[in-house]
């Protein structure tokens, strides 16, 4: 039996949907059963409820897996990223101290220029190579301006049982763009497609870890594409 839709049906429908254990069965028993508009509305609302339940189940399943599963790929990177972000900020490398000392630096540069042009017979001292901010790790490539990103190379003593980790950022304080796995050699050669996604200027650092996982002070360098 068809019944015309009554605005009061809405309140009854609300009661059914928010209170009934089985809204369809309740609906069939109620006076709403003859209202085609309410029947259509009920089905549409139940469909929305079922979709919400499915969404909630999906999230519950994912979260349960996150709590129960064993170690998964990427956990080490997550840990290192968070620890790096939590590390106290390093003092600025080009702040007021640099500005305060620039006259001295200028004087030093002038002295060097005089020294370099002074006539002498002795050969110049050998180039010690770039050693940046590291007692034990010397970054070799890329440093300064380079033609293309080929990979990362450094010199260091590998701690017994230890490993290296390379992190690359766009800027010193920026987020890590790419990060190496545990390395046991003095270079890291990411895939060309990974390198091709790097920006034109990067800040990269190498950290040595000893066998207990204790990190060294990072050695860092900046480099850019010509």
């Amino acid at each position: 039996v068809r019944a015309p839709h009554d605005p009061q049906h809405t309140a009854q429908l609300e009661g059914l949907l928010s209170g009934a254990a089985d809204p369809r069965a309740e609906f069939a028993r109620s006076e709403l059963a003859g209202c085609a508009a309410c029947a259509e509305e009920l089905e549409a609302l139940l469909d929305a409820m079922e979709r919400l339940d499915a969404l909630a189940d999906d999230a519950r399943e994912a979260v349960a897996a996150g709590r129960a599963e064993g170690p998964a790929p990427g956990e080490a990177r997550i840990e290192e990223f968070v620890r790096a972000q939590m590390r106290p900020a390093e003092p600025a490398r080009s702040g007021p101290a640099v500005r305060r000392w620039w006259p001295l630096a200028l004087a030093g540069a002038a002295a060097l220029a005089v020294y370099a042009t002074w006539p002498r017979e002795a050969p110049p001292p050998p180039d010690p190579g770039p050693v940046l901010n590291a007692g034990a790790i010397a970054l070799e490539h890329p440093v300064g301006s380079v033609g293309e990103w080929l990979g990362f190379r450094w010199r260091a003593e590998l701690p017994a049982g230890g490993w290296f980790r390379v992190r690359v950022r766009a800027q010193a304080a920026g987020p890590v763009l790419i990060e190496s796995p545990e390395l046991h050699e003095l270079q890291w050669l990411p895939a060309p497609e990974v390198l091709s996604r790097l920006p034109r200027a990067i800040h990269w650092e190498v950290v040595a870890f000893d066998d207990s996982g204790q990190p060294s002070e990072p050695a860092w360098a900046s480099a850019s594409l010509r």
Binding site: R51, G74, R77
Partner: protein, 203 residues
Amino acid sequence: MLPHSEPDSGRPSDADLALVRGVLERQPEAAQRFVERVRCVARMLAARNRKLGSPLESAELEDVAQETIIALWSRLGTYDGRTPLEAWCWGFCRVALLTGIRTKRRRDDSVLRAGHALRTSDAQEPHEAVDDEHELLRLGLAELPRSESEVVELKHFGDLTFDDIGRRLAISANTAKTRYYRALTKLRTFLGRRASGSRGAPV
């Protein structure tokens, strides 16, 4: 959101909110606890990847985990404790994993095209249809006023009764029911509109 074990007490995620605030204030003791909690990112990604038939390999999953934690970290200040931390993380994981899978598929497709092979199908993967539907629901929820969406979340994601929801939000159970119904009708309209929109205008 997860079922709440103590629906009548304060929000179960208040402790998570305190933890996140500690992290943002760089409290050392918060760091370790936070690291332990956000390991779930890698685990959720691995579990979902497996469920989808392992489209990503281990190294690719590592990349996705890294992208997820970077995105998550950049939004950490927006965590409001409405959901447990893991459930909040899942939102980032889901997006990053989908992006990772789609990127890989596009890459594979372009390799196929470069080799003059025919692409087998332009059809959506089954999981993509499900994910799109879930995304649509999330969009619909996001369009609701917060007073209504929180009732829906507590009802469906938190498995709470209207009495519990009323106590949690300091409103009557009847008000909770009314907000729920209002939210549901809006959601149903939103979904209907989107469905008809995706079918295109009638000729």
